[in-house]
């Protein structure tokens, strides 16, 4: 009997053990389920962070980055009443609310460096604020900001908050602030690594965008500086070339003036010695012929000297009303024998609209002569010489210009010679002085005009002289 009792007791014990084990199993199961939920939750959060880290590098501007961060914060921390992302304005030493998610939008976007964002940016890493510490920090805000913040949320006051600085190394870009609702345990210390990750991702992305913007700006500056530099260099080169040219011309001018002056005395003596000899000679003396030649040649030297000197020293007194067409006809008459012998046909197209201008006729004649003789030299086997004048006017009431074209069908000027044509002493002719075109350009520029050149090797050359009409 006692045995039965024993067995019963044993069964009861076992049953109790069983129920205990059952209860234990239930607890373990619940625990397992909880852990499972947490694992799933964790997994979900990690995948949010992962997808965020994949998406951020593709963002092209800071706004996209901050919007993305705000959106994902809502996924990572459900139940949050407001999420604020601030960026530092270094110039004004303030925090500017760049993006937010809350029931009502916050109207004030700048915050001084205090309150939750102020604490966040100064914090070394992400923090969870609860209780009195949170209350104290909220009360740092002035009443106006506090009211604005309260209006933006459904639930007030928040019982917990997550804050994190946006920083890369020692550089701080801003802060992220999440306000929890009235439920005290909405945020858990386990959330801290996630808000930290979110803030770090945001900081790295913003830093990279800033670097990229700065690099682009530097690149632009560099390109601009380079182009300015190139432009300045080109201007300098032009100025240097002009300086060299005018220095050469001045040197030539001075030299020729002093030579001309020094020659005058001996020339005067020689010429008039011959004159005196001639006085004593009988009318039929055979020496007379040579004497005449000598006198003529000395006279020629005198004219050359005078002309050479006058090129470089245009006297104001010689300015006179000048008819360009008449001048051209006279010049062509002067060389007509030369043209005929060289088998050159001359064609003129002189516009009757050309007004009389105030100019140095002798000098202009010298320019025309120079260019026409050059044209003849360019046509050793004959050709056509075309001389044309016409009026140019860009638009009604604009200043008018006389264009004088002297075209030949000669050998043309090779491109490598063209830049140097108007330089003094530059010549391609065996017996040239290299002064003709330099002096011509000088004379034309004294008349405020320009000489242009068009040339095609083996086709011919056109010199265009542009002279402004003087309508003051």
């Amino acid at each position: 009997m006692g045995e039965l009792e024993d067995l019963r007791q044993r069964v009861a014990e076992l049953e109790q053990r069983l129920s205990e084990v059952h209860a234990q199993a239930e607890t373990v199961e619940r625990e397992a389920a909880l852990q499972m939920t947490r694992a799933i939750n964790l997994n979900a959060r990690l995948s949010v962070i992962l997808s965020l880290s994949a998406a951020l590098p593709n963002s092209r501007d800071v706004d996209t980055v901050v919007q993305l961060i705000i959106r994902e914060a809502a996924t990572l921390f459900p139940g949050t009443s407001a999420t604020h992302l601030f960026l530092v304005d270094h110039e004004r030493n303030t925090l500017i609310l760049r993006a937010s998610a809350s029931a009502n939008p916050c109207t004030i976007i700048t915050h001084p460096l205090h309150g939750l964002p102020g604490k966040a940016i100064l914090a070394p890493r992400a923090m969870l604020l609860v209780g009195p510490e949170l209350e104290l920090t909220l009360n740092e805000l002035d009443p106006y900001h506090l009211a604005d913040l309260r209006n933006s949320m459904h639930e007030w006051p928040p019982q917990s908050a997550l804050i994190a600085p946006l920083r890369v190394d020692s550089q701080r870009f801003g802060a992220i602030v999440l306000y929890g609702g009235v439920h005290a345990h909405l945020y858990h210390p386990r959330d801290i690594p996630f808000i930290q990750a979110l803030a770090d991702l945001a900081a790295v992305s913003i830093d990279e965008l800033n670097q990229r913007t700065r690099a682009a700006a530097l690149q632009r500056d560099l390109a601009l500086t380079q182009s300015l530099h190139a432009e300045a260099e080109a201007r300098l080169n032009t100025a240097q070339a002009q300086l060299l040219q005018s220095a050469k011309l001045a040197a030539v001018g001075e030299l020729s003036a002093s030579v001309a002056h020094e020659i005058n005395n001996p020339l005067y003596a020689a010429r008039n010695s011959l004159y005196l000899v001639e006085q004593d000679l009988s009318a039929d003396a055979p020496e007379r012929a040579f004497l005449t030649i000598a006198q003529q040649e000395l006279g020629r030297i005198a004219r050359i000297i005078t002309r050479m000197r006058d090129f470089y020293r245009p006297a104001r007194a010689e300015l006179a009303a000048t008819n360009i067409n008449v001048l051209l006809r006279e010049t062509l008459e002067l060389v007509q024998t030369h043209l005929r012998h060289s088998h050159i046909n001359t064609m003129t197209e002189l516009s009757s609209d050309i007004p009389v201008i105030i100019a140095h006729a002798d000098q202009l004649r010298q320019v025309f002569l120079n260019i026409i003789l050059n044209a003849c030299d360019a046509m050793p086997d004959g050709g056509d010489l075309r001389v044309r004048t016409r009026m140019l006017q860009a638009r009604y009431e604009a200043p008018t210009t006389i264009e004088i074209d002297i075209c030949d069908t000669g050998v043309g000027i090779p491109p490598e010679h063209r830049p140097h044509l108007f330089e003094p002493f530059y010549t391609t002719k065996t017996h040239g002085t290299g002064l003709g075109l330099a002096i011509s350009a000088h004379i034309i520029s004294q008349h405020n005009g320009r000489i242009l050149l068009e040339s095609e090797v083996c086709q011919g050359t056109t010199f265009s002289i542009l002279l402004p009409t003087n309508q003051d």
Binding site: H261, N264, N265, Y268, A269, N272, S273, L276, G299
Partner: protein, 139 residues
Amino acid sequence: MPPRQIQICDDDPAAALITQRGLQTLLGENYTVTVASSPNAAWLACAHGDVDLLIVDPGAGSGSASALVRAMHAFRPTTPILVLTAYDTPGLRAKMRDLGVSYYAAKPIDFKELLPIVTAALQTVPMPSAFPSRMSVYH
């Protein structure tokens, strides 16, 4: 009637000689043409003698020649002056005109052209109590 006096002031010996010989030959014995090689010597000649025409070349540095022209203008206002220069520039012309010089010629002028200018200058009637009327014969 004593011969009339022409004084030349030119520091170029050959040119001075030719001017002297040429004018002497062309004008004949009624004129005495003398040469001074410096403005100082020319001034001495003009101050002491009765010079009827001064022909002067201001040369490269026209300073002392200008002084001579000024002195003539002050002390011998009736004596005509001909500037015959190898250093003709618009500046020199203007300067000589300002100094009251009536006759101006630039070398290398031919005697054929120089002679009428010299003759014209010599014909300027000296008026003892007044300045000669200035002519504007600029060559």
